[in-house]
């Protein structure tokens, strides 16, 4: 069979093969379509935009839950979370021991410690290598120090707190850095 024969068959099919759709097909299809648009629009306007946000919220919730289980609510989470941790520490001292009041050491005691210190004394501490300071909720400052130096810093801060005192202080949350 030659290429010409192929073309001949194709030409004949092209000329004879098309069949027009029944006249009422479009009408029936569009009747169905028009019966549906309200449902379509409502689905798109309310559910569709919410899906990414719902997914992000679920992921965030799972992350927060996982972090709280792993780190006991501390660690390198955001400053707001740290402020929240400080607030919890104020209210739940058995779970978050405050070395300035309970002097015993140990792993739990290293979790965090809260002090009330003059601002000037804090500036000297934050410039030390490996120490990071950032603000937290309710005007508190979080000091993240290397874990190996946590006890040292706790003692120094406690000493400053006992030495100074007064009204012009800010709350300092001491935590081991990760």
């Amino acid at each position: 069979m030659t290429e010409q024969d192929h073309e001949e068959i194709a030409r004949k099919l092209r000329e004879t093969g098309t069949v027009p759709a029944p006249e009422w097909l479009r009408t029936e299809v569009m009747d169905h379509v028009r019966a549906e648009p309200r449902l379509r629009r409502s689905r798109r306007s309310f559910l569709t935009p919410a899906i990414p946000y719902a997914a992000a919220a679920a992921v965030l919730a799972a992350l927060v839950l996982a972090l709280s289980h792993l780190g006991g609510g501390s660690g390198s989470s955001g400053s707001a979370a740290e402020g929240g941790g400080a607030s919890a520490a104020d209210n739940r001292s058995p779970s978050f021991p405050q070395p300035s009041k309970t002097a015993d050491g140990g792993a739990m005691a290293r979790h965090q410690a809260i002090f009330h210190l003059p601002t000037a004394s804090l500036e000297k501490l934050t410039i030390a290598p490996g120490v990071k300071a950032h603000s937290a909720a309710r005007g508190a400052v979080v000091l993240a120090v290397p874990y190996s130096r946590f006890d040292d810093y706790r003692q120094r801060l406690r000493a400053i707190e006992e030495r100074t005192g007064g009204d012009d202080t800010i709350r300092v949350i001491l935590r081991p850095a990760r």
């Binding site: 093969g17 069949v19 479009r26 299809v29």
Partner: protein, 195 residues
């Protein structure tokens, strides 16, 4: 072609009963509007493609009733799925794929549960010469996989790439099936030629 026609319409012209800018634009532009709920844009797409879709379904199922159902269900399914149409393929290819799947489903249903259906016998547009009816009858004698390729490429004028995308087979498969389909059509018509 018919999309560029302006008023007045000649009698018998199959055109939507409106003449606004929605008729101007590519299928993809209309599809985007339809995806946002624009029924008139979708209606224009229906007008543009209904004959080809019906031809495709009819030549595959060989049943006017099945073809009608396939096209109707396919178009409604396309309307529902339009928001998920990402434009990876041409809109026409995507829509034909929906209809051709339904046509194959209809064939499968008939194979599993044979029931009396009105069979199509060499339906050709208007009055056609005998030889052309023979060609359509020969087309109906092909296996569906070969028939659909001949319909797509030779009757609907698709490229082999488009037919492959519609049928979800490689272009090489389309090419070989088309070649064999034409050969079988030629053989089927041969006795008439010699006789």
């Amino acid at each position: 072609m018919q999309h560029a026609i302006a008023l007045p319409l000649p009698r018998g012209t199959r055109l939507a009963p409106y003449h606004d800018p929605v008729q101007i634009g590519s299928d993809e532009a209309l599809a985007r509007r339809a995806a946002r709920g624009d029924e008139r844009a979708f209606e224009e797409l229906v007008v543009r493609h209904q004959d080809k879709l019906y031809t495709l379904a009819l030549r595959v199922t060989l049943s006017e009733a099945d073809a009608y159902d396939c096209v109707q269900e396919g178009l409604i399914a396309a309307w529902r799925a339009l928001p998920r149409f990402r434009g990876d393929a041409r809109f026409s290819t995507w829509m034909y794929r929906i209809v051709v799947r339904k046509a194959y489903d209809a064939l499968d249903r008939r194979r599993r549960a044979p029931e009396p259906v009105e069979e199509l016998h060499a339906v050709a547009p208007e009055a056609q010469p005998e030889a052309r009816l023979d060609l359509i009858a020969a087309l109906e004698g092909l296996e569906p996989d070969f028939r659909v390729v001949a319909v797509a490429c030779d009757i609907l004028g698709m490229s082999m790439e488009q037919a492959g995308a519609m049928l979800e087979v490689p272009t090489g498969t389309v090419k070989s099936r088309l070649h064999r389909a034409r050969e079988q059509l030629a053989q089927a018509l041969e006795p008439d030629r010699t006789g």
